[in-house]
């Protein structure tokens, strides 16, 4: 049985209130008196429990205190909020002032999708073949022009002028639905049947809008090309042999090929410098050969 004096002594020891001599005597007793040692362990655990309970209470109280995150300063938060608000206002302003006819754009886009395929093909043929279809033109002239349509029309008009085509200016062009893509050389191109079904003259028109520049002394690019707008750069020994650039237009898309050393190479309209890769599709090679002969 633990006495009141023993408990008081243990408390004094734990609170460091004993003198050195008393402390030494206490520690000797701890080693020799088992019941005293048990009482000490118990009292130590209880006092520690009381202290821990208060620490937990204080920490729980502090956890309730609202404090800002230490990793993001209040200035940074203000800056982020400011930028976000500006971005939202700018986006809204852009659509309100730059695209006031956004509804028209949407409806126009929907109509474009709903236009029957046969009619579009007729239109496409009309553009490249320079024959007029008044019914379709009239239908589109009654519609309010959208900015997107105007931009598309301007691009086509520029290309038509440069190619000295006979297409009349101001004519509304139906957006492209199907475009001939000679780069689809895997033999499963969806445009392939269209080429076979239609006379080639209706699909293609040829012109020379690309201004070619040869870069023979580029260490990194030995047989490459780059198209930027109407500028074609050829990297490699093109000054040694004759080369020929073939351009075709289907609606507003230009497809270009390079004929060099009895081989055709696709010239995709990407702004990055790319390696010249030979055309492998026999059908396409045959058509390109035919064009060159008819030139």
């Amino acid at each position: 049985m633990t006495t009141e004096q023993d408990i008081s002594l243990i408390e004094d020891y734990l609170a460091n209130r004993l003198s050195d001599a008393e402390k030494e005597a206490f520690e000797v007793r701890l080693k020799t008196d088992k019941s005293f040692s048990e009482a000490y362990s118990f009292q130590q655990a209880v006092i520690k429990g009381i202290q821990n309970a208060r620490i937990a209470e204080l920490k729980a109280m502090l956890n309730q205190v609202p404090v800002g995150s230490s990793s993001i300063s209040s200035t940074a938060i203000k800056a982020i909020v400011g930028v976000s608000i500006t971005a939202v206002i700018s986006t809204i302003s852009y659509f309100v002032f730059v695209y006031p006819n956004s509804e028209e754009v949407k409806s126009s886009a929907i109509e474009e999708v709903l236009v029957p395929k046969a009619e579009n093909q007729t239109e496409a043929t009309e553009v490249v073949g320079a024959t007029e279809n008044k019914n379709i033109s009239t239908q589109h002239e009654t519609e309010p022009p959208s900015i997107q349509q105007n931009i598309a029309e301007n691009k086509i008009e520029k290309r038509k002028k440069a190619a000295n085509n006979e297409i009349k200016e101001g004519k509304v062009v139906e957006p492209k639905i199907e475009i001939f893509d000679p780069l689809a050389e895997d033999g499963q191109a969806t445009e392939e049947p269209m080429l076979e079904d239609k006379p080639e003259e209706d699909v293609f028109t040829k012109s020379n809008t690309l201004k070619t520049e040869v870069q023979p002394k580029d260490r990194r690019h030995s047989f490459h090309y780059q198209i930027e707008g109407d500028q074609l750069k050829l990297y490699g020994p093109f000054e040694k042999e004759l080369y020929e650039v073939l351009e075709f237009f289907s609606n507003d898309k230009r497809t270009a090929f390079l004929y060099y050393n009895r081989t055709y190479y696709s010239l995709a309209a990407n702004s990055a410098i790319a390696e010249l890769k030979p055309v492998m599709d026999p059908k396409l090679i045959q058509k390109l050969e035919q064009y060159r002969k008819n030139q």
Partner: protein
């Protein structure tokens, strides 16, 4: 919340905490939160660890103040900052030691100690509010019997002593009634 818009002087904060004013501790906590947690975060600590270290430092500061064992010779922030530094250094050493031990031997969880602490905490909560306060004042805040008597409104120190003795006895019996004394042997 109190002190939300009011700046307190160093002396005022110190005196209030010394008198056991928890709101003054909250004020201090909020005021130096960024400064103290930055110390830990910029020394490979997480935000949770930083918060924990800062709270522990404030608890130490609180205990020193309330027990009357502290005479301020520097700014409060300087003092708390040095406690944070020491605590974080100890924590880093502990982590390093633990990491080395893990390499050599499997980790053994001290479930007995955790269970024991749970038992005691549950028993403390079963005590009445007066007993809880008296025991906390005596064993945690290390208040004198006179201070306990003053705070609790007891007639004199003898009343405070008797009350403390009875409360402690009650707690011991409560713990023993539920668990064998042998459970507390290491």
């Amino acid at each position: 919340m109190a002190f939300k818009n009011k700046e307190m002087s160093e002396t005022e904060v110190f005196d209030r905490i010394k008198g056991g004013d928890e709101k003054a501790l909250e004020y201090l906590y909020k005021k130096y939160y960024r400064m103290m947690t930055k110390l830990v975060i910029s020394n490979s600590g997480t935000e949770d660890e930083a918060r924990d270290i800062y709270q522990d430092a404030l608890v130490v500061f609180w205990q020193k103040c309330t027990s009357g064992n502290l005479v301020m010779t520097s700014k409060i922030s300087t003092y708390i900052y040095s406690i944070c530094q020491n605590l974080w250094r100890k924590e880093l050493e502990r982590k390093k030691r633990l990491s080395n031990e893990e390499k050599d031997m499997p980790v053994v969880l001290d479930t007995d100690t955790a269970e024991r602490e749970k038992i005691i905490a549950a028993c403390i909560n079963e005590l009445g509010e007066t007993c809880k306060k008296v025991l906390t004042y005596y064993y945690f805040d290390e208040l004198s019997m006179q201070d306990i008597a003053d705070k609790m409104g007891f007639a004199n120190t003898d009343t405070a002593k008797t009350k403390k003795y009875k409360c402690k006895k009650k707690l011991d019996e409560l713990i023993k009634s539920k668990y064998s004394e042998l459970d507390f042997l290491d």
